[in-house]
């Protein structure tokens, strides 16, 4: 899926920016895994976007976490463009991007899966 083809220089760039728009933050492997994509082009485009000031990265533990640069001069305009691009994505992709669990989970709490036909198990 490459909605902004003709505007952005690579599909992996769109994947990164859409992911960061939806999730706020992300790291190379997490982004690549989400799209079932190769890690190398994601890493390469993250480096280019960082060099151009579009995203910023910081070291968190052993990983480098990125976000859209809050000081990027065209940030507001970019976010509008990305929002519009995201709205053109298939609903299941949009939901998968937006509906990730963010609230904390205590360390030993068992994970409960919910089957809509049978209730919690």
């Amino acid at each position: 899926m490459f909605v902004l083809k003709g505007v952005l220089r690579a599909e992996s760039q769109e994947r990164i920016l859409i992911f960061l728009l939806a999730r706020g933050r992300g790291y190379a492997k997490g982004i690549a895994d989400f799209y079932s994509a190769s890690l190398t082009p994601i890493q390469a485009q993250l480096s280019r976007l960082e060099a151009d000031g579009v995203v910023v990265g910081r070291q968190v533990g052993g990983i480098r976490e990125f976000e859209i640069n809050p000081r990027y001069f065209f940030r507001e305009e970019l976010l509008v463009l990305l929002q519009k691009a995201l709205s053109a994505y298939p609903e299941e992709v949009r939901e998968a991007l937006l509906m990730d669990r963010r609230r904390p989970r205590s360390r030993h709490k068992p994970v409960q899966f919910f089957d809509k036909n049978q209730g919690a198990s």
């Binding site: 060099a51 151009d52 000031g53 809050p70 000081r71 001069f73 940030r75 507001e76």
Partner: protein, 183 residues
């Protein structure tokens, strides 16, 4: 380029002139400019320039010609401990484009740099977005040193951050001014 024994200001002037002679116009920004306006109360070992002519290839060629090598985002020279970086343009503070710049002149060499007022905004933006308290301290030190009024920056701090950041600026400014009156 002969850089042995040059201080950071001399280095910045030389590099700026070298780039200008090759058709690349740069404006000094960041920690070096903050250090300059605070009379080097805060020291830095790198100089940041924004290339306002967007001539990346010419810039890279001119830096190589001057003996600099690039590693990552930084340029190094064997004769100096100072490094250079060229953050991407446009020249801006917060969401405002910078139209007017200041100049620094030494021995007939002129370099463009952010004005005192704009570097205060730049440091405030660093404080707001990176939660960098040292940047807030630098902003306030420059305001006091350059006799810039607090009220000129309250709107910027609120717009860029919010009431919490604006109040932090007010408190730090009041603390620093009362401390300097005690001395």
């Amino acid at each position: 380029m002969e850089l042995k024994g040059k201080n950071i200001e001399e280095l910045a002037l030389l590099v700026s002139a070298q780039l200008k002679s090759r058709g690349v116009e740069v404006v000094a920004v960041g920690g070096f400019v903050a250090a300059h306006y605070s009379s080097y109360r805060y020291l830095t070992k790198d100089v940041d320039f924004v290339d306002i002519t967007y001539q990346t290839k010419k810039l890279q060629a001119a830096m190589a010609e001057a003996g600099f090598t690039r590693r990552g985002k930084n340029y190094f020279h064997p004769d100096t401990e100072f490094t250079l970086e060229f953050p991407p343009g446009p020249l801006s503070v917060g969401d405002e484009l910078v139209i007017k710049t200041a100049t620094l002149e030494r021995d007939g060499v002129v370099m463009r740099m952010l004005s005192a007022s704009d570097i205060v905004k730049d440091r405030l933006a660093a404080f707001i977005h990176w939660r960098d308290n040292q940047a807030l301290a630098q902003a306030v030190a420059i305001m006091i040193k350059q006799n810039l009024g607090l009220e000129d920056f309250l709107g910027f701090a609120e717009k860029e951050g919010g009431p919490v950041q604006k109040n932090a600026l007010i408190k730090h400014y009041q603390d620093e001014t009362s401390r300097s009156h005690e001395k």
